[in-house]
Structures are given as structure tokens and as C-alpha cells.
């Protein structure tokens, strides 16, 4: 009988913080600038330059720590991690080893067997490295230091996860907490959130952990799920064949769905950490922690409760809308603009989700303004347009963020409530479709739907469906 294995997973998650400037200098962190436009002597590692810590970095790190139930280290320091690589111009990275800013936290996720806590070992602050571009033609690499010195926090979990689903639930939870705090946009595909997966397997019931590997280069939730499944199987196959799992760092290639070893424990680097002499310690008072706590915005769980209570929308709706900070923001602004909450919710969960899926977009990619969605819903409620026209107008709003009132006016899409005019059109439709009329009289209720459809077509979709139904019933 084959043995049963348990997968044990811990995560190291790097998050780029949403500060305006770098962690140790006044260079901009704006994305997409010309190479090396946002650089200075500090972030290009020039001799004699000195780092000065960005206060906002400390406050974001504290906010994430508080929201993930961590203890804030009230005497915290930076350390130097030495390594040679051209994306790191100082030949060391300023990080935190001995006294990281947050420790001993947890988040709660929906695991395989109900709610469970995933422990957070620590959160530390550090600087990002530059970007290396390898020349295809020459025997050289080129370095862009715009990203050098962009602030990161690294969130190190305990090995508390047991499956890819739990890993993704944990990452989703972290992402939402950090997005709601405004500390980062957490985009995996753009690298503002990066996850390294530490994974080992052991026989069910075993007390000791197996030998673990670390997997890098995971750029989407799907890639993470595939890499976990692949690595779990690779380790089980090794064990079943009587071979040993080697402690090593592996790189995932999501196109080939395969990973390869980057470096093993034997040639692991010796980072020679020591306290960073260019930066003074950070002392965090109780008052400071209280100030950061007091500024904490409403997080997802509180939002869900409030939506149900204040806007009377179902828990199901609240869950979907708050699954993205962007959607929650649109919902609240449209409702504040006076639109009916349940209808705003319907448009977000229905049409918006459908269009996002059709166009392979994320909620974060939404560009329409909540005011235009609110105006559309008001047009429907006022009976100015019917629901089929509204869908068409919404697509325009979604794509081009048009003003619906103007658009309806300019394109003559107002609902046709003219009973006498409609009666004439419907009489013609009835006369043209004797078979459907016959079917209706033979008890086929559905036949009336066809006649409504024909009338709509004849009025270019603008007729008031209530009036059509009423007149049709009279005529038949």
C-alpha cells in the first residue's frame, strides 16, 4: 500500500510599499520612468553617500504588523546583508535580521478543515535591488537602478499551510489587508507582491519536518498552485524511490511547468550580516503604535458587516464586492452619489464581472467612474431607459467612461412610453406573426416572449416592456 504524505508549506512574501520615495533617499518610486531617471548617489551606492530612513516605510510596516496581529518590536534596527551582484550597487542590502519590526503574528484563513490560523514569524523592512537586463547581442548586462532602494517588507510565515488552496487563501488574505491599508497595490504580475514557497513533505503522522526546498519566480496564483503540486510530487517520487530530497533553491518555469535547481545548501551564500552602522536604531513608543492604530482604515471584515447592516445588501454580495478594494471603493462612491445600493451591487457582480472576465481583466483595471454608474442606475430607476438599453449603455461606460445622461440623449435611447404609438407597432407585429399568436392561444405562454422580442426589435430596444406586455395581452 502506498504511503500517505502531508505537504508542509511556509511562505516568504515580499511586498513593495506604496511610498512616494525610496526607503533611504528622496528619489521617486514612480513606475515606468526612463532607466536610471530616479537615481542618486545613495541608491547607486556611491562612496560617502548616507542613507536616511523614510518614516512612511516604518508606519506602513507597523500598520501591516498591527493588521496581522503581530507584536511591534519597540527597539528595532537594520542590518547589512553582504553579497556581490550588479543589481545591488553597494555590494550589500540593508535589511533586518536580528530585530525585525514585527514578530509573532497570524492571519485567519478558510483552510481545508474550516477556519485556521497561519502564523507570521516576522515582518522586516529592506530595500529592493535594481533591474538587470541581459543583452542579446553583446557579452554584457545592463543595469537600471530605478528600483534600487524601493522599500519592501518581507512577511515570513510559519510552516502552517498544507495545500496550494491554503497558500492561495493566505496570499489573498494578505493582499486584501495590505491593499485596504493602502500600503501596496500587491500586483503579482507586476512584481509588487512576490512569493517564495518553502515546501517539504512528510508521512502523515510524522513529527519531524522533511527536507525543504525553496521555490522562486512565481508570478501568479495559478503559477503558485502549479508549482506546489509539481514540487510536492517531485519530492514524493524521490522519497518513494529511496532518494533524498536536497535542500536547495529552485526556479519555477511556468511555461514548461517544471522547476530546476538554482543553488544548493552547500553553495549557499555567506551573507556576513552585521548591524548597519549608517542607520540609528528605531524606537517605537506606545503612543506611536496607538497613532498608527487610530489611522487604520476600515478593513474588509468590518466593511462586509457594515454593508449588510447599513446598505441592506446580502452577505453574498458584500463578500464579492469587498474581495477587491477597487470594487468596494466604486460601490461606496456610487451609493454616496445616491444610487440604490442593491442595484449598484447587481451591476458590479453581474455586468462588471462579466465584462472583466470577457476581457481577461482584474477589478484593479477598472477605469470607469462611480458617478457614471450611479447616474445610469438613476436613469433606470426614473424609467428614462429600460434594462436592455441600460446594459448597452453600461458597456459604453465600462469601456469609455461616458456620461450616460448625455449618451442617452445624444443617441435617442430614452424609453418609449407612448402607448398609442406602441399599440400601432404591436398590432403590426401580431398581424405579421400569426403562428406565434396561434401558439399562445394553444397554451404556449412562451410565445408571448417572441412577440415582445419582435416589438423591441421594431422599436430599436427602446420600448417600455411593461407597456408592451399590457397591450399584447389586450390584443391577444
Amino acid at each position: 500500500m502506498s504511503k500517505e504524505y502531508e505537504t508542509v508549506i511556509g511562505l516568504e512574501v515580499h511586498v513593495e510599499l506604496a511610498t512616494k520615495t525610496k526607503i533611504f533617499c528622496g528619489c521617486s518610486t514612480a513606475f515606468g520612468a526612463e532607466p536610471n531617471a530616479h537615481t542618486c548617489p545613495v541608491c547607486t551606492g556611491m562612496p560617502g553617500s548616507l542613507p536616511v530612513l523614510n518614516k512612511q516605510v516604518v508606519e506602513y510596516a507597523m500598520a501591516v504588523g498591527i493588521a496581522t496581529n503581530c507584536d511591534i518590536t519597540q527597539y528595532s534596527k537594520f542590518d547589512r546583508k553582504n553579497y556581490f551582484y550588479p543589481d545591488n550597487p553597494q555590494n550589500y542590502q540593508i535589511s533586518q535580521l536580528y530585530l525585525p519590526i514585527c514578530r509573532n503574528g497570524y492571519v485567519e484563513i478558510n483552510g481545508e478543515n474550516g477556519k485556521k490560523k497561519v502564523g507570521i514569524h516576522e515582518i522586516h523592512m529592506e530595500e529592493d535591488a535594481g533591474k538587470l537586463i541581459h543583452s542579446e547581442w553583446d557579452d554584457c548586462s545592463m543595469v537600471d537602478y530605478n528600483r534600487s532602494g524601493v522599500p519592501l517588507i518581507e512577511i515570513v510565515s510559519e510552516p502552517d499551510m498544507r495545500s496550494a488552496d491554503e497558500v492561495i487563501a493566505y496570499l489573498e488574505k494578505l493582499r486584501l489587508i495590505i491593499q485596504y491599508l493602502g500600503a501596496s497595490d500587491c500586483k503579482l504580475n507586476e512584481g509588487s507582491m512576490r512569493a517564495d514557497v518553502n515546501l517539504s513533505v512528510r508521512e502523515v503522522g510524522a513529527e519531524k519536518f522533511g527536507t525543504r526546498t525553496e521555490m522562486k519566480n512565481l508570478n501568479s496564483f495559478k503559477a503558485i498552485a502549479r508549482a506546489i503540486e509539481n514540487e510536492r510530487q517531485r519530492q514524493i517520487d524521490l522519497i518513494e524511490d529511496g532518494e533524498a530530497v536536497v535542500q536547495e533553491t529552485r526556479r519555477w518555469d511556468d511555461n514548461k511547468e517544471y522547476s530546476y535547481a538554482m543553488r544548493s545548501k552547500e553553495d549557499a551564500q555567506d551573507y556576513r550580516y552585521f548591524p548597519e552602522p549608517d542607520l540609528v536604531p528605531i524606537v517605537i513608543s506606545d503612543e506611536w503604535i496607538e497613532q498608527v492604530k487610530a489611522r487604520q482604515p476600515e478593513l474588509r471584515d468590518e466593511k462586509m458587516t457594515r454593508y449588510e447592516a447599513d446598505y441592506k445588501i446580502p452577505a453574498y454580495d458584500a463578500d464579492i464586492i469587498t474581495s477587491s478594494k477597487k470594487m468596494a471603493d466604486i460601490f461606496e462612491e456610487a451609493v454616496a452619489d445616491g444610487a440604490n445600493p442593491k442595484k449598484v451591487s447587481n451591476y458590479l457582480m453581474g455586468e462588471t464581472m462579466r465584462l472583466l472576465k470577457d476581457k481577461s481583466m482584474d477589478p484593479d483595471d477598472i477605469t470607469f467612474s462611480p458617478a457614471n454608474l450611479a447616474a445610469l442606475i438613476k436613469l433606470i430607476d426614473a424609467g428614462t431607459i429600460n434594462s436592455s438599453v441600460a446594459k448597452e449603455v453600461f458597456e459604453k461606460i465600462f469601456e469609455e467612461d461616458i456620461d450616460p445622461e448625455k449618451y442617452v440623449e445624444e443617441n435617442g435611447l430614452k424609453m418609449d412610453n407612448d402607448e398609442d404609438g406602441l399599440r400601432g407597432i404591436i398590432e403590426q407585429v401580431v398581424a405579421d406573426n400569426p403562428q406565434s399568436v396561434q401558439d399562445y392561444h394553444n397554451g404556449k405562454e412562451k410565445a408571448i416572449g417572441f412577440l415582445v422580442g419582435q416589438t423591441m426589435k421594431a422599436t430599436k430596444g427602446k420600448a417600455n416592456p411593461g407597456i408592451i406586455n399590457k397591450i399584447l395581452k389586450e390584443l391577444l
Partner: protein
Amino acid sequence: MANVISDETIEYVGILAKLELNDEEKENAKKDMESMLDYIDKLNELDTTGVEPMSHVFPVNNVFREDVVTNGDDRENILKNAPEEQNGMFNVPKTFD
């Protein structure tokens, strides 16, 4: 001399420091390191029980900068520090992880 630096150690330190030393230089470096370590050993004569390890000599904490962009576009000057430049980037020998 109380401290003895082995051949392996000097080899390893050379690798970490990216230094290529010939045999004579290695022997000299060994002696230098040994005498430095002996000198540092003097500190062990002090009783440091209960003394917190210190990372900084100044009694200063919390030196911060506000999150405001202060550096303008000084790309041209920064790139002057590059041994070689290409497309606005620093040229370095081809490097893969």
C-alpha cells in the same frame, strides 16, 4: 599568537572578498588576521555579563526623512559614474544568477 588562521580560512575569506592572493600574500594576510584577532581578544578580558550588545556609538534614535520627493532628474550626472554606459544604463559584464 593565540589565534591561528588555517589555509582553508584564508582561502574562503579571499573568495568572500573577491580577492585573488598569491602564496606570499596569503601568508602575510594570515599573519595580519591573526594579530588582529589577538588584539580583539583583549576585549574578552572584560566582564560583559548583563551588558546589551551595542550597535551604535551615538545616543541617537529615530532619524527620519518625510516621504517627499527631493531628488530631481540627475540622470546624466549619475550615469557619469558608470564605467560604461548603454541606453541610459550601467554596462556590466554579463551576469546570470
